[in-house]
Symmetry: C2
Subunit: 282 residues, 2 copies
């Protein structure tokens, strides 16, 4: 779930580094079911909890969900909180509802899979491999063209944003910061492409990179190589060469494909070895 609480633009934020208010006490007793997180509003917790369960497959499409009273009981929140959370999931087309029937899970092809939150839940679902495969294929479709458009139309500040992100990627001390810069790099390219419909896809790339960052360990040589690939993209856009940008992005994606493939093999091997161990011990 994206952080809903950010400083609004108009009331200029004097200090955005202020710590998020933690340690919020709940008077309500934490009843059975999933726990509530302090520091977050109840409806946000609920949206995440229910959304994650749906995407994870706990309630397959067509299933009638627990009704409002049951959710309310399960999470120890008021009915209005449940209703607002359900409405948010409806807005993402994960749910629909009717009086006397209840709420049910919508068929998967209606889900707003490109939504930030839904992507996050998908990325942490058991089908992570399916997620990575789909996202990566999608990137192959989108990103080369986006880079080509960016090479053709990018403005001066946009170019600076791209270069800056690329530099930060190279000098990031931690993998986490590197991933953030990586996401910023690709998002900046999408923005530079001059088509606002492309921008929501930044969340897609971000969740893919984050998923890779969490599960894949990478060696120094590899990181250097990846950095060179990114610089190749930057250079092509800087020089306003659409075809070169397209090719450079394809090279990067091919590299990522390879990493995913290797990781998949490793995971499959460890899985089968676990199976073997279990079979041997059983």
């Amino acid at each position: 779930m994206a952080d809903r609480r950010r400083k609004p633009d108009p009331p200029a934020a004097p200090d955005d580094t202020a710590p998020v208010p933690e340690a919020r006490k709940r008077a309500a007793s934490p009843r059975a079911g999933a726990q509530r997180f302090s520091g977050t509003y109840a409806h946000v917790s609920l949206v995440n909890a229910i959304g994650q369960r749906i995407v994870r497959g706990d309630y397959p499409p067509g299933t009638i969900l627990p009704n409002e009273a049951e959710w309310s009981e399960m999470f120890g929140v008021g009915r209005s909180v449940v209703r607002e959370a359900v409405k948010m999931l409806m807005a993402k087309n994960l749910l629909a509802s009717r009086p006397k029937v209840g709420s049910w899970v919508e068929p998967r092809e209606r889900w707003n899979l490109l939504d930030r939150d839904v992507l996050t839940w998908y990325a942490t679902s058991p089908d992570r491999e399916g997620f990575l495969k789909a996202v990566q294929e999608f990137r192959h479709i989108i990103e080369p063209e986006a880079a080509a458009l960016a090479a053709a139309r990018r403005g001066e500040e946009q170019m600076q944003a791209i270069s800056s992100a690329c530099r930060q990627m190279g000098s990031a001390p931690t993998l986490s910061e590197r991933t953030a810069a990586d996401t910023a790099f690709h998002t900046a390219i999408l923005r530079s492409a001059g088509n606002e419909l492309l921008m929501p896809l930044g969340a897609l790339i971000g969740s893919a990179l984050e998923s890779l960052f969490i599960f894949v360990t990478r060696e120094a040589d590899d990181l250097r190589h990846v950095q060179k690939l990114h610089e190749g993209i930057e250079k092509a856009i800087l020089r306003q060469r659409p075809e070169a940008a397209r090719r450079a992005v394809r090279r990067l994606l091919a590299n990522t494909d390879q990493i995913i493939a290797e990781e998949t093999i490793v995971r499959a091997a460890s899985r089968s070895s676990r199976h073997a161990a279990r079979a041997a011990s059983g």
Copy 2:
């Protein structure tokens, strides 16, 4: 706004052609502001009203919106209805809010522009030309590749869905039905591509076609030509020729580009003639 009230899958719907219950009486007096629509739930009306105003530009990004009490007053609904509507818009990233500050319009690049409802509001906004331009460019990126994937991976029933939609397009008696079949055709291709991330984009194509259907008059010759172009796509997918499918889609899109360009010229001309008339009379 997509119709939220549909028959759920599990309780098999015996008759889906039953008329939507109209003529619902409101006890509450219709106060100032936008009117409520009978037959629809209040929160749906509110989501549409507020969402449309935001996308249309009535409240530019950064603007603090009226607070809950004011919306409540404006539309003559209770505060909970307002809150649920606002939550749905938050789920689409059009809004964010904070206690003591209020709700504000999020920067445009955070909007979930690929969402069905947001697209609908965008399509009816004053910037319809910008909308069509962006969507059409996006189609150029997505659809050729989707068709190529479909040609490579389509199943038997998926092929039947494509062919059926293509046939229905050819024999549709009204333009409205033709547009519906057209949308079904492209949606079926997206589904056949075997990447679920592509499926939400059906809404994009649908809204583009609907927008064209509403504003563009087309001649019989033109329609025949378009039909042939669609059949070319169908044939390529039927024969499982990815490259041919890609090319066929590009031909169709080039044709659509031309139609949009012509329409744009016509509208610009009528606009300037109106200006001229006004200038002459003023």
